[in-house]
Assembly symmetry: C2
Homo-oligomer: 110 residues x 2
């Protein structure tokens, strides 16, 4: 249903992943499903896995493996202190950006 301009999503995916991980530890495949259920269109796995690799390289998450009885082992991600800081910074940046966009777009629908 709701399918967005891919360019509008840039940078936001990291914010959304960190938000989901702030709620609870989770693994990639499950995060994809949560993103889709949350109203983000057809998020591809090929988008999410590299994004998770980036946040891991940045030190925003730690990882651990848990075997599954429904398939291969799951790679869980846990938000680190640095990740929590980054999340708050990005939420703040998002709100500031949203206000700016609101400022520019208010009053156009006359």
């Amino acid at each position: 249903m709701s399918d967005f301009d891919p360019q509008m999503l840039k940078g936001l995916l990291t914010l959304l992943l960190l938000s989901l991980l702030a709620e609870r530890d989770d693994y990639g495949y499950s995060l994809v499903e949560r993103l889709r259920a949350g109203g983000l269109g057809e998020v591809a796995e090929g988008t999410v896995y590299p994004a998770l690799a980036r946040v891991e390289r940045s030190g925003y998450v730690a990882t651990y493996h848990v075997p599954s009885d429904r398939g291969p082992a799951r790679k869980y991600y846990r938000l680190s202190e640095a990740g929590r800081d980054e999340l708050h910074a990005r939420v703040d940046a998002w709100h500031r950006l949203a206000h700016v966009v609101e400022h520019f777009t208010k009053g156009i629908e006359l």
Copy 2:
């Protein structure tokens, strides 16, 4: 002051430019100043001019030149019908996206 993650801006610049042009016809250099005054950080001219070239190629604007007594001739942009439609579509997409992000970020404890 407010400097944003360049990635978060992706795709939004077109929306902001169309919004400004919905208010009134304007030229590139002036649009850069209006964006800066509106709270968007240090937007580079090298970002805005290619963006304007894109919206022109897409048929969202028509252009005309007006001589200036303070410098070279100004290239004015006027929103077309297609541009107005595109603007409304992008504003709508933005609101839907903002709603989704809000959904994912609400409930983040401090």
